[in-house]
């Protein structure tokens, strides 16, 4: 196995598409992508699945790169940036843990109590540091899975609409309309919780 440093040193300029193309003949090259993006993918998975489910985020990250490796032969080499592709794979894997995610969002949402009355301030503040704010968690919990998936790829992973379209395999027009519906839904949910 060529070390990441050595690879980086030799081929500083190789973009993602070039690395994937090389990995068709020299599979070890694929680990360059892992070194580039595993932290980022893990960050996204950890945010989605929550602070108390790090092991799941670890699994999702490892699995994302194994799946990507297996499918590298089908990668569209015109796409220089591999992140949307990787996020798409990760999003699929996270979707398998949908129940974990919604359970967590509902638990966080409950911190405010059903009547909107906040819990003891200290406990809310403590949760704030590592977790999602209760009212935002409630809004997310109220979304359909595919709405949440797209919304968080844009809001948390900071993918452009075009990249999100690649990640989810949907037309960019669908990204726009779905996002606009989702934002309206969130607006309503936040309005109600105020």
């Amino acid at each position: 196995m060529v070390s990441a440093a050595a690879v980086g040193g030799m081929r500083v300029v190789a973009g993602d598409a070039a690395v994937i193309r090389e990995s068709w003949e020299v599979p070890e090259r694929f680990s360059v992508l892992f070194d580039r993006y595993s932290r980022e993918i893990h960050r996204y998975a950890a945010r989605r699945l929550g602070a108390d489910a790090v092991a799941l985020a670890d699994d999702v990250t490892a699995e994302t790169f194994l799946v990507a490796f297996r499918k590298r032969g089908r990668y569209d080499l015109r796409r220089e940036d591999a992140r949307p592709w990787l996020y798409g794979i990760a999003a699929n894997l996270i979707a398998k843990h949908r129940r974990t995610e919604t359970r967590r969002l509902r638990a966080l949402a409950r911190v405010t109590g059903p009547d909107g009355e906040a819990f003891e301030e200290r406990s809310v503040a403590r949760i704030d540091a590592r977790e999602l704010q209760p009212r935002l968690a409630a809004a997310l919990a109220g979304l359909k899975a595919r709405e949440r998936e797209l919304f968080l790829l844009v809001a948390w992973a900071e993918l452009s609409y075009e990249d999100a379209a690649v990640a989810l395999g949907i037309p960019v027009g669908t990204v726009r309309s779905r996002l606009s519906r989702t934002r309206a839904k969130i607006r309503r949910a936040l309005g109600e919780s105020r």
Partner: protein, 346 residues
């Protein structure tokens, strides 16, 4: 502030990626990636995989194994194959004679631009693996069924359907866990996998020298490891594997192979489909590598690798460590469209 910005601002802190989890994930990826690379080095089959049809009646050269549904029977034959073989005695004729007859055998498929050469084959090759945890090296024999569609003119991708069969033990080595990583059937696009200097699409092969001297020079111009003779032999295999050569180039190639020092013939060489033919090959680093030809039609049936030097090959003499069968080479007008499954956006 819109909803996207609001949520971005309030993004929860992500739990850190522990160094141990990251290292483990990377090791898992390396374990997946390493065996293939070794396969490629050892046999040149990983990218290409199978064999060519040199031979006779190349149009729908379906080499039927008698009786039963072909696929199931071939698989069964493979399961039952004993990986230890005895090198049979002298062939009834010399390598030059066998290759000369192979050069005269076969029809002209004459595929046209826009068409595809479809090759069905079965392969077994040795692979090495490295266990990321223990650093221990493993060896095993990996087996696949392959169907490849190759455009007559390079440009559009090759489509490869590869079905992973259960691995076998490399003689004297336990089968490592990594050997079971490949499962099921994969559809793969191979678009840029070919070396530019060695295109093996039909159009590129048609442009190769059609005379023995020119073809021999082409073989000896091959880059790579090993002696010039070894490289020439390996390149010959690359030209034959999962390709269709026009008759003129095919004839030149077989006659050129006969000029590589050390090439001789043996009888009783069996391919992966258990068809017995005449072996033409040479010994390289403790392993005898043969092309196997049909005894009557002189069509190329497959390839075989057998250990002849235990120390060099790290396996007992007589171990079968490579075995392929080319089951058919045909020309098709269409290629399966490799659909992306709905949930597969990769």
């Amino acid at each position: 502030m819109n909803e996207i910005e609001l949520f971005r601002e309030a993004r929860p802190e992500a739990a850190p990626y522990s160094a141990e989890a990251m290292a483990e994930a990377r090791r898992r990826l390396e374990r997946r990636a390493t065996p293939r690379s070794v396969r490629r080095r050892r046999a040149g089959f990983a990218a290409g995989g199978a064999l060519l049809a040199a031979g006779a009646a190349s149009v729908a050269l379906v080499v039927a194994v008698p009786g039963g549904p072909e696929r199931g029977r071939l698989a069964a034959a493979h399961e039952g194959a004993d990986p230890v073989v005895t090198l049979a005695g002298a062939a009834p004729m010399s390598a030059t004679q066998v290759l000369g007859r192979a050069a005269r055998a076969g029809d002209e498929l004459a595929p046209r631009p826009g068409q595809y050469v479809k090759v069905v084959s079965q392969t077994m090759f040795s692979a090495e693996s490295n266990d990321g945890d223990t650093g221990r090296q493993g060896r095993y024999l990996y087996r696949t069924d392959r169907v490849i569609w190759r455009p007559v003119r390079a440009g559009s991708p090759d489509v490869l359907k590869i079905t992973h069969l259960p691995p076998k033990a490399y003689p004297g080595w336990p089968v490592p866990r990594a050997a079971f990583a490949d499962k099921g059937t994969d559809w793969v696009h191979l678009q840029y996998c070919r070396n530019a200097d060695l295109g093996t699409d039909y159009t590129a092969l048609s442009r190769l020298p059609a005379d023995v001297r020119g073809m021999r020079a082409h073989l000896y111009a091959a880059p790579g490891d090993g002696s010039p003779d070894t490289r020439a032999w390996e390149r010959a295999g690359d030209l034959l594997r999962e390709t269709y050569l026009p008759r003129a180039q095919r004839a030149a190639l077989f006659r050129a192979i006969a000029t590589i020092p050390g090439v001789d013939a043996v009888g009783g060489a069996q391919d992966a489909a258990r068809r017995t033919g005449l072996g033409v090959g040479r010994v390289d680093r403790g392993i005898r590598k043969d092309l196997i030809f049909d005894r009557r039609t002189y069509a190329l049936l497959g390839e075989r690798e057998v250990v002849v030097d235990a120390a060099q090959a790290k396996a007992p003499v007589g171990s079968l460590i490579g075995s392929t069968a080319q089951l058919s080479v045909t020309v098709t007008d269409t290629v399966p469209r490799v659909e992306r499954p709905r949930d597969d956006r990769c």
